[in-house]
Amino acid sequence: MPSIKLTFKTLISEKGLLRLSLLFAILFWLALIVSDLFLLFAQINQANAGITQEIPYLFLLLFIIFVFFYFRLRIQKAESINFIDLLWHVFSTGLIVSLVQLAIGLFFYLLSDSKLLQNDLAVNFFYHINIAAIIVFLTSTFVVWKRLILYQKNKRLLLIWQFFEYGLLATLLFNFFQSEFQDWVFIGLLGIFFLFGLILSFNLKWIAYLNFKQKWRSILLLALVLLYLYYFLTNLFNFSEEFNLILDLLPNVFVLSLSAFIFIYALISILVILFNLPTSSVFEQKISEVLNFQRLSQSIQKGDNEDQVYNVLLESSTNAVFSLSAWLEIYEKDRKTRIFKSNITDAKIQQVKKSIQESQIFPYLHKHQSESFQKNLNPNKLTANLNDPDYPSTLVVPLVIQDRQIGLLVLLKDVEDGFNKEMIDIINSFVSQACISIENFELLSEALKNERYKEELKIAMRVQKSLLPQELINDDNFEMFAFYESADEVGGDYYDYFRVNENKTAIIIGDVSGKGTSAAFNMSQMKGVFHSLVQLELDPQSFLTKANSALSFCLEKTSFITAAYYMIDSVEKTVTFSRAGHCPALFYNHEGKSVNYFHNRGLGLGIVRSNNYEKYIDVNQISYKPGDKLFLYTDGIVEAKNPEGEEFGYDRLSDVVSTYGSESPEKIKEKVIESLYSFIDSEGLDDDYTIVIIGFF
């Protein structure tokens, strides 16, 4: 059975909780005022109030708890709040609280002579406003301090903190027993929490993450917090001294411990930030190095191009080592050199290059270059002092991918021995990271290119398939069956038919030389030629002659197409055909159960690109009877080889066709393919296989 859990949190949204706690805090504060004033009224009139001192204490406790709860929810929920925002929050809360107190102070000052101030009820009422304001400030600051202290927390720290926090809240109960306890208990508890606060106050890791500017702002804000605290406490003290208060907030362990803790933490933070100020630039430097490193390594993912990587490398390198000028030269494949500059002119680059060639770096780099960077470079040998008035020292780092140098980074400084070991190390890691990025970039674009090529092949295959007829003729006169299977690559086999008129049907089979996209392209040209010429009702010889001259204009010099053209006349029951260099068709004679190849003269299309073509072509005609079969195929069938290198050949083909010639065209195809595959002894094709079989009725 699924358990139904309805927690308080799921019932009320976070926003609802916030509002609810605020509402309760206000309600209990109002209750506190009413009960306190009621008590006071009774006291003044010497009457029995009917409620004890504990009632307002209870309201105070609940008020504090709800305020505390409210700020815990508000300040702790956002994980991303930055430290300055947190301190700003404390500052602004403090500002509002001080304004409230100032307003009350001003009010008291203006009315110092009036009777109102002699009225304890009025004084206590204003004091309660003070109480609320100070509690708000103390608790919200406490929650902010908690976030700061628990930044990068561990289990032990968390445990100490929880002890401290719950202990503090527990002291609220102390009020109930105030009268029964001695002063030393009060002092003792105060001492314990003071110590606790002191120990916790040394968790200041957040300070390290502030930059120089943020540190100054933090000091200012923290100093203001100290100022607020001083003002609030003196205010409380003054009230306590001057007036008869029904509920004095000052002798309260909770309030005093909290104030002490806030004061200590603010003070220690100020001091620590002050001492950290001089080293903050180092920290900032390290952070920027890490960020630059990240930029270099991520630049590929973001789809940046190589130039952006180079720019990031140059920029981060100059920043990392505070170099005055720098340049990055990249050697392109076409022997050109591209130069990325930073604060330097071309003329100056040439000048500095000369001085580098005179330094000991040049022979050292040259030696490694001749060894194809097989050995690791000694980074310390890449820096040298130059004989140059502007740039007395330089650091030169080659960009090496595998064993080839793709570029050179030159950093220049206006002091001698300007590059220490740390700087050399960081530049070396920048350069190697940039090289990795560039290498990845190259690999990626290569992979993309391959992918594109594969995609193109797929398209070519699709185009080729779509060029073949989807439906074939199957009527009273004859039935057609076609089979096409291609190797992985795109082949150039082609067959098609066209019903010239009611009685005449033209059939073509062809093979384009070559493979791949160019074959598919030529094949589509062949289809275009076929469909435009076939409508002219030409005899086979004229058809091929015209096709030859048409294709002569579009085929490459070494390309040619073999084709055979058949015109079936279903009234005369004849097949007229010509062969343009295509493998001769097989004819199965049903009566005689015999087969023979159509041997006649012919020449491939595109071989002779002149009007002479006609004379190389024969036209033949045969008559057919019911049951006869015309078997068309491409050279993939006869040229298929077995593992010994022997070809399937014409004889094996005619044997199979003559054996199964009386079967249906589909059956004949099955038998041919079966014996072909058993002959080549493998499932892998290395050419296209095309078979078209026409069975006459």
Binding site: D511, S513, G514, T562
Partner: protein, 117 residues
């Protein structure tokens, strides 16, 4: 596998082609023929196909592409010694109508002088 050798007998250049001529190896045949066409002194070429085992359509394409070059440079070429199978490949495409194909070397020489005059 392909093995191509060019020899000279008097004024006749002889290319001996041995092995298989397929799409990849036909490049070597092409190179050999280009080399001869570039030499202006070469006017008579004999192709010895006695040891030619196989020729693919790409190989035929090489011969085909030189027909025009030979004509313009007045170069005469004769093939001889083709096996029945190889000769069949030439015949099916119809190249036997355009090229001079004879049985043996002796006939080839006679044919060369015959067509030269």
């Amino acid at each position: 596998m392909i093995n191509i050798e060019i020899t000279k007998e008097d004024e006749i250049s002889i290319i001996t082609v041995a092995g298989d001529v397929d799409a990849s190896s036909s490049i070597h045949l092409d190179e050999a023929l280009t080399k001869l066409v570039k030499e202006s002194s070469v006017k008579l070429i004999m192709i010895d196909g006695t040891q030619l085992d196989y020729i693919s359509s790409a190989g035929l394409g090489v011969f085909m592409s030189y027909i025009d070059d030979f004509k313009t440079n007045n170069i005469k070429m004769v093939l001889f010694g083709l096996s029945k199978k190889v000769q069949n490949v030439f015949e099916i495409l119809g190249l036997d109508q355009l090229l001079n194909i004879v049985a043996d070397k002796k006939e080839a020489k006679e044919k060369l002088y015959e067509i030269q005059s």
